[in-house]
Structure formats: C-alpha cells, structure tokens
C-alpha cells in the first residue's frame, strides 16, 4: 500500500503535465455511474438539454462546409468586422472587403479593411488584413493617409482569437 501512496501523487502530477499536449489521440468520452446510464436510456421529458434547455448542443458547423477557406477564420473575420459595413464577401476566394467607415468618435478620419483568408487550415498565417485610412482635408476632400503597421496586425490577432474560440466551442 505504501508504494501506491508514493506513486499516486507523482502520477497525478504527470497527468496534469500531459494536459499541455493536445494530441494524445484518445477519445475524450468519460463514463457515468451505472445508475445514471440506466436512467438515461429512457430519455428525458425535457430532452437532452434538461429543464431549462440551456445545454442544447449547437448545430455542428464543420464537416462538408461549402466555404472554400477555413470556416472558423471566415466566421471570425465576419464577426470581427461586423461593426463596419461590408461591400463584398466572397466565401470561395476568402475575400472580405468593407466599405469606408468613419468612427463617430473621430470625425474626419475613415477606414476601409480588406481581409484575405489564405488557407483551408486554421493557422496564424492564414489571415491577411490590409487597412486603408483617409483623412478629410480643409477643403472637404478625403485624402489617403499613413497607417500604423501594428493596427492591421492587431486586427489579425483579434480575428485569430475569435477563430480559436469558435473552434473550441465546436469541439466541446
């Protein structure tokens, strides 16, 4: 019994470390106690979601997606740019182009974004965002203006974070 005691906690630690690697190849389905399994075979009056239906599984989005590029990046880009008006969104080529957008907080300055989704896989270099900026001059004409390079990068990162959230949610 002593040997169990001395092995148990190092073993627990090792398993926690394992949590760092994601590709163990096993199927992450875990058993329920026998009583629950027996009761569940008869179903539930309220369906799988239980009484308040808060746990109903969202429709699976992956599989045979008609979109020509990574669907998580596609949806994440649309989500992220949804506050700007869109002029064009091509799911086959993976091109999303917004219209000019003037932030009410900074009048006299407007932006336009072109997002290219480059890959079928969800990867960090699968998204390219180009940002265009114009300022109104004294005569009331819009003139092209310089863009801070990190702004486009920040937008890309926001899109990637959102894509990862979508993927995690679908795999749950």
């Amino acid at each position: 019994m002593k040997i169990f005691r001395s092995l148990f906690f190092p073993l627990l630690g090792a398993v926690f470390l394992l949590s760092a690697c994601d590709n163990t190849g096993g199927e992450a389905s875990y058993p329920k106690r026998a009583k629950d399994t027996r009761r569940e075979q008869y179903g539930k009056l309220t369906g799988e979601g239980g009484l308040f239906g808060l746990n109903r599984k969202e429709e699976e989005g992956g599989g045979a997606s008609p979109i020509g590029v990574n669907s998580f990046l596609w949806r994440a880009t649309l989500d992220t740019l949804a506050f700007m008006p869109l002029t064009s969104a091509d799911p086959f080529g993976g091109v999303i182009i917004t219209d000019w957008y003037e932030d009410p907080a900074t009048p006299g300055e407007r932006f336009k974004v072109t997002a290219l989704i480059l890959d079928k896989n969800l990867r960090a270099d699968g998204i390219k965002v180009s940002l265009f900026r114009q300022k109104k001059d004294d005569s009331g004409h819009w003139r092209d203006s310089e863009v801070n390079a990190s702004t486009a990068r920040d937008l890309e990162n926001t899109i990637l974070t959102r894509a990862r959230q979508l993927r995690v949610r679908q795999s749950s």
């Binding site: 949590s19 992450a28 329920k32 009583k35 179903g43 808060l54 937008l155 995690v168």
Partner: protein, 377 residues
C-alpha cells in the same frame, strides 16, 4: 498624430468589443434535470410475521450540472445530485445531496474531485448493467425485503459490488461508504480501452466530514482501479472490465480490503447477455479467521423499441464459522417507455438468504413484486 492614434485604437477597440460580445456564449452552462420514481410493492418473506405485506416508496432527485470550457480547451464543471425526498433515504446516502463534485477534462483525461462514486462503479461490467425495470439485482427490491441481520442473522453480499460500493454487509443497499470524498481520474478511451482510478483517504468521509482517525473499525487509503473495454462491430456490441479495490484497515484485528471483479457483456440486435465474477478475498474479515467471500452474476435482456425486459441473477457466498452465508437473488423486470422520460415498469424478485445449518433464525426466503413509474426530466 494624436488623433491618428485615437482613431486606430478606437477601431481595434471596436473590433475587440464586438467579437467578445459575440463570444458571450462561452460562459458555463447550467442544466437542471432530475427524476421521480414511484413504486408500489407487494412482498412476503419468512421473517415478516406481524409485518404488512405491501407498501409505497417515492424516490426523488434534482440534478444540477455545470459545464464550461476555457479558450484553451480545458473542460470544467460540476455535478450536484440533490436529494429531493420528503424523508431521508433508508440507505444512508447524503441527506441533502448524494453526490457533489467538480470536474476538469480535456483530451488528456478527466479528473473528478468531490463526494462521488468510485471509478470502478462507472467502469465495471456485470449483469446489473443490462437490467431493466427498477434495476434488477441492483433495483428497488431491498427496500421491501427483511435483511436477516436485523433478526439476529449475519453478513451477506447483496449486490454485485466491491466493498466500498457495496457498503455494510449487515444491511442491503447500504450507501454509507460509496460517494466518499475522493479524487478520480479517467483516461481517454484508446482503441476501446479506458482506465480509471480513484483515491479516498478515508472510507466514510463525505461532504464536509473529514476525520483523521486511523484506528478503530474503519478503513482508509482506499484505491480503486479499473480497466474497461468497449467495442461495436455492426450489430454486435461487446464490453468487458476488470476492476480492483485496495484499502487499509484501521484495526489490526481486521483484514485490509483487497478485492477484484471481472465481467463482460455481449449484445446482438437488442439481445444482451452479461456476467461477472467478483472476489472479495478476505477483505474486512477478522485477521484471526481465514474466511473469504465472493459473488457472481448472470443476466440477459431484450430491448425492442420502447419495450425492454431482463432477467438478472446474483449469487454470493460469505464464509462464516461452520459454512457459508449464501445469498441469491433472481430478478425479472420489464419496462415500457410511454414517452421520452415516462417509463412504467414491473419487476419481481425472488431472494434467499441462507446461513449454515438447518432452520436458522437468520435465514430468509422471500419475494417482492414491484409496480412503478419513473419520470425523468
């Protein structure tokens, strides 16, 4: 330049705000469910002189589960099984809740932390796994049967379980030692195989109770380890498991726990057969004795659409001075799913407690007929 900075920051800020608003669904989900089980029983046995031969029983639970997932893919949540009965359960399970635990899971496995069943209870395979009605040999029969121990009789194994899940051998259906506070780990399932292990520091600590007593009648440092295999080939399903339990006796006069169980089930087109053998060895017996105990189960079931029926059988032997305390129980049950979650059932149990010697006061031979309705929501 200042205005430029303000503008671009605003743009990214808006993007972040918008996308985080869209991901608000990531907060943990709370699900409420439960069941109500009503039973009417008609029973008779050798020890029921001056007892009524019928009775009703009502069992209710409300289950709350919390399920969440972090951005990095770590699953987390909790399970709370609230006992919603009008009175405490005769089995000695918790008054407010029978199980409460937190879990963490991912592709690396699953941890369950709290007052919970052992890992082997979930991994084991025996005849009770395929039982219909109220649960066959693990069903409601024992609420209606007289255990000989209350009449001067001895110890019996009355369910197909290893010591912690079985509970006291002097009552049937005891739930005083399952659901102790423990840590459980399940591995993911690899090619059909799944491993599980639990550890409880004490054999009776549950919920807020934490004892340090390491002497007396109890058990401590209890390990449960189980290996389960499951597979399906077209219409044929197969599952098997080997489980074991070890624990230290607090008293030197009592043997440590060392028990194992092996079982398998085979299914084909709605038919299933299952069987198991469990050996408690000399677990919990007086050190001075050389008494052993064991049990075996056998069962068959048929599932046809909304209708299900099963026959399950348990036979156990507990060695005592002068022979064996032999227990056997044959349970035949059937149920019909009227609507999802609404299932009436009937069940009849023929049981026999048999102590060594002829005409012993602690013998009991009887039967229980149950008519019930289970409502799950």
């Amino acid at each position: 330049m200042k205005k430029f900075l303000l503008g671009t920051t605003g743009l990214v800020g808006a993007a972040v705000l918008f996308s985080s608003a869209a991901s608000a669904g990531e907060t943990p989900k709370v699900t409420v469910g439960g069941f109500i089980d009503f039973q009417a029983g008609i029973m008779s046995d050798d020890l029921d002189a001056a007892q009524r031969g019928y009775g009703f029983r009502n069992d209710t639970e409300v289950n709350v589960s919390v399920d969440g997932k972090t951005d990095s893919g770590l699953g987390y949540g909790a399970v709370i099984d609230l006992e919603a009965d009008v009175t405490a359960d005769a089995s000695g399970q918790g008054l407010n809740a029978s199980r409460t635990y937190i879990y963490l899971d991912g592709n690396w496995g699953r941890f369950e932390l709290g007052s919970n069943n052992t890992s082997i209870e979930a991994l084991k395979v025996d005849a009770s796994n395929i039982a219909r009605g109220s649960g066959g040999i693990h069903g409601g029969w024992w609420y209606y049967a007289n255990h000989p121990a209350a009449f001067g009789g001895g110890a019996y194994i009355t369910s197909a379980a290893l010591p912690q899940d079985h509970g006291s051998m002097f009552v049937a259906g005891g739930e005083t030692t399952d659901n102790t506070t423990k840590i459980t780990y399940y591995s993911p399932r690899f090619s059909g195989f799944q491993l599980g292990a639990s550890y409880s520091p004490d054999g009776t600590d549950k919920g807020q109770t934490m004892t340090r007593t390491d002497t007396g009648a109890g058990f401590g440092d209890i390990f449960d380890v189980g290996l389960n295999y499951e597979n399906q080939w077209d219409e044929i399903s197969f599952s098997a498991a080997i489980t074991g339990e070890w624990g230290d006796a607090d008293s030197a006069a009592v043997e440590n726990i060392g028990a194992w169980n092996i079982g398998a089930a085979l299914g084909y087109m709605g038919f299933q057969i299952a069987g198991s053998y469990g050996d408690w060895g000399d677990s919990m017996m007086p050190t001075a004795s050389s008494f052993d105990s064991d049990y075996w189960t056998l069962g068959a079931s048929y599932d046809f659409g909304q209708f299900g029926a099963s026959v399950t059988y348990l036979d156990s032997n507990v060695e005592v001075a002068g022979g064996d305390n032999d227990f056997d129980n044959l349970v035949i049950g059937a149920d019909y799913e009227l609507a999802p979650g609404l299932t009436p059932y009937i069940e009849v149990s023929f049981y026999d407690f048999d102590a060594p010697g002829v005409g012993v006061a602690g013998d009991n031979d009887g039967d229980v007929f149950l008519l019930g309705t289970l409502l799950s929501f």
